[in-house]
């Protein structure tokens, strides 16, 4: 029994907003409905449903997946939820791929949803619950205390200045101006970013993506179904995921080797030998500016220490040699964790099909990559799509 081919055949999403009136179920429904409509399928055509949602503490649901199931289209269907923290969104596509590639299902609806706004006084508070209850929480550890540690070390090791990484925000927020879901699209200069207030040195306010509410869905289908319902199936050519140790203080904070391992797993499956030549567009994870560059290097899409230079040379612009985050990414579109990462998969899908409208990159890209990063700065998930 060989591996079955799996295609993305439809995608949908909600707007990303700071605070949505919609309940998580309703957000899920809107994204799922749009994805199904986009490929003219009905709920009865769906064999199984996969849901990704990152952190239950954001919206205060225990067993969040159970709550979401009907909005995600899981009524009386096989339904599973998974999470790998921030890496959940891209993993959703991988989990859905398993459903179809295993031969168990022909059509799988994949949904990622996050509603962060219910958390009071601020969604940041929920991050406290991510850390070690005994050794870290009593010190008040939070995201703005640890991610900058990575950024600091990463910049020092590679000799990057604040301006070098700030360009990521400028590019992505500009790209986002053309995205209908975006809440943080803006025309900025490098100086604007560098001059924005320091949240946690070396992180400035404009280096960070914003918490948000939103949902994204994609529909996966087996080769037989995909060829029947669309003339532009986008194939899931490679998947990879990897998790590093829980002891974050003993990891190499400057280089996410787990992302590299996830990428190599996906490249091997897709038969990709020279990623820098064979990948045409990329949507690496960009919750913070430096992460885009760091992830590009770990994905082997840029040599170590070279990403900032390529960025400055406009290689990663929408009309550059390798467009990176043409969607606008998390920095531009917004960051409802799991939904934002699955949005990256959806963006690659639209770009490869030539359906990205004003965001469309030139040159008919054939192969694209989406990546996310998560858990406690330790998880990498990678999907390679091909048309």
């Amino acid at each position: 029994m060989g591996m079955r081919k799996v295609a993305v055949v439809g995608a949908g999403m909600t707007r990303f907003v700071r605070r949505a009136l919609e309940t998580p179920k309703e957000l899920a429904y809107e994204a799922a409905k749009m994805a199904l409509d986009s490929c003219e399928l009905k709920l009865k055509d769906v064999d199984g449903v996969v849901v990704g949602s990152a952190v239950d503490a954001f919206d205060g649901f225990h067993m969040k997946g159970e709550y979401l199931s009907d909005g995600a289209g899981g009524w009386r269907k096989p339904f599973i939820r998974h999470s790998v923290g921030g890496a959940t969104g891209v993993f959703s596509c991988i989990h859905g791929w398993m459903h179809v590639a295993s031969g168990l299902f022909d059509v799988c609806l994949v949904l990622a949803e996050e509603k962060m706004s219910p958390c009071q006084p601020h969604p940041q508070g929920a991050f406290l619950t991510v850390y070690d209850a005994i050794l870290e929480r009593p010190l008040g550890l939070n995201l703005t205390w640890i991610v900058p540690q990575e950024m600091n070390l990463y910049m020092i090791r590679n000799g990057y200045r604040s301006e070098d990484v700030a360009r990521v925000a400028v590019k992505n927020k500009r790209n986002a101006l053309d995205h209908p879901a975006a809440m943080m699209g803006e025309e900025l200069t490098v100086q604007d970013v560098v001059n924005s207030e320091v949240i946690s040195w070396p992180v400035h306010r404009l280096d960070i993506s914003g918490t948000a509410d939103g949902a994204t869905a994609v529909v996966l289908a087996s080769e037989e179904v995909a060829k029947r319902i669309t003339n532009k199936p986008v194939w899931v050519d490679g998947v990879g995921y990897n998790l590093d140790t829980w002891y974050w203080t003993s990891r190499d904070l400057a280089y996410p080797v787990y992302v590299e391992k996830a990428a190599r797993m996906a490249y091997e499956m897709a038969g990709i030998k020279e990623p820098q030549k064979e990948i045409h567009i990329a949507e690496p994870y960009d919750p913070f500016t430096f992460k885009e560059l760091q992830n590009l290097e770990a994905l082997l899409l840029a040599d170590q220490g070279k990403a900032a230079q390529l960025l400055a040379e406009r290689v990663f612009d929408r009309d550059g040699r390798m467009p990176v985050c043409p969607s606008g990414g998390l920095l531009g579109v917004g960051n409802p964790i799991a939904a934002a990462a699955l949005m990256k998969v959806a963006e690659v899908f639209w770009q490869l099909r030539g359906e990205a409208g004003k965001r469309q990159v030139p040159g008919n890209p054939k192969t694209g990559l989406a990546q996310a990063w998560g858990d406690m700065m330790q998880a990498g998930t990678v999907v390679i799509l091909k048309i």
Binding site: A57, S102, D375
Partner: protein
């Protein structure tokens, strides 16, 4: 705890962590007191810098995900891990209530056991099953647990003791409810060729199914476990089983509450609707009965292991099919069924059909 369980699984399979292609963990954040509880597991499993992910669901759903991954051909050997640290939660009722709808259900501020009360009442009403028959399930399972060295809640009880135990949420009394336990279970799956090479007595997954009914308390089915019915249909179809009652030798089903065992047996088509109560009364569900159900002692006897419960069910069926169940061995067991339910307030369950042929 998980490290020890994983070490034993590796030893039992004659493997080392480096032989494993992928790892799947089952668990929920709020029962850990930890957001993204996923992040803690690689170390315990020897899975640092390896493919690991978490299913926020029952361990049986995690196992199904691992099995699917093997079926894709990308992986040969996968490890499934799950554990319960129920003892560390000081306020389980307050956690369970957060699985309910915040707008429609939480404001009532009632102990979530009321959901089991509502469901039991409707089940008894629709099927004519009695509280006495449910009590008999408790007696049977707690007795089975006496033969299970891993079970913490084995005891010899009379039906009357169950019936007379304090009422929690009518018609559910305190002994109808499974106590919680701590524990860790690790299961290793391998593709057919690898399994044959590795293991003298591999247990084969013949069928798998899983399903969720409407999560809404207002719109779900109450009398029947529809989620299990649909999951079972899927699993039977895959396993080529047409007459479950004849073809299955033993079953481990979720008995989080006494009536659930009976309701699940009916949904699994192991008996007709309304019949399960009589079967337990007649002793047909005992270890040497016509159909052994929960020979391990079930949740009532072993203790509910939160999301690891499904793994306990699979483990018991595997031990029984290997003939390694010691004093509680079911004679001539060839095909077994394991079923799980995620507990109140959910309507999610999974079914696995296992065989030793």
């Amino acid at each position: 705890m998980l490290y020890e369980a994983a070490s034993k699984a590796y030893q039992n399979a004659g493997l080392e962590p480096k032989d494993i292609d992928g790892f799947v963990n089952a668990g929920e954040d709020w029962t850990e007191g930890h957001s993204i509880a996923d992040e803690i597991t690689p170390d315990q499993l020897g899975a640092v810098k390896r493919p690991v992910f978490t299913v926020n669901g029952d361990a049986m759903q995690a196992l199904i995900s691992a099995a699917m991954h093997i079926l894709t051909g990308q992986m040969n050997i996968c490890l499934v891990a799950s554990y319960s640290k129920a003892s560390n939660i000081k306020s389980l009722a307050n956690i369970t209530v957060m699985a309910m709808d915040p707008v429609f259900n939480r404001p009532l501020e009632e102990n979530p056991y009321f959901i089991a009360g509502l469901e039991m009442n409707r089940y008894l009403y629709e099927t004519g099953t009695t509280r006495e028959q449910c009590a008999q399930v408790v007696v049977k399972n707690k007795k089975n647990a006496l033969w299970n060295p891993s079970a913490g809640h084995g005891i010899s009880l009379s039906k009357e003791q169950v019936l007379d135990s304090p009422m929690i949420s009518y018609p559910l009394s305190s002994l109808d409810i499974s106590p919680h336990s701590d524990g860790a279970i690790v299961i290793i799956l391998a593709a057919a060729e690898r399994a044959k090479a590795l293991c003298q007595k591999p247990i084969w997954i013949e069928g798998m199914g899983w399903c969720s009914d409407s999560p809404s308390l207002e719109k779900r089915a109450w009398g029947e476990a529809v989620y299990t019915q649909i999951a079972a249909e899927m699993a039977y179809k895959m396993a080529g089983i047409s007459y479950p009652r004849k073809e299955i030798d033993l079953a481990e089903v979720s008995d989080e509450f006494s009536y659930k065992e009976l309701q699940h047996l009916e949904a699994l088509k192991l008996c007709r609707k309304g019949e399960a109560g009589f079967l337990v009364e007649e002793g047909a569900l005992g270890i040497s009965g016509e159909l052994a159900v929960n020979p391990s002692g079930g949740c009532l006897g072993v203790g509910s292991l939160l999301d690891a419960t499904g793994a306990q069910k699979v483990l018991e069926v595997a031990l029984q099919l290997r003939g390694e169940a010691g004093q509680r061995q079911v004679p001539n067991a060839g095909v077994g069924l394991a079923q799980s339910w995620r507990g109140i307030p959910t309507t999610s369950g999974a079914v696995l059909i296992l065989s030793n042929r």
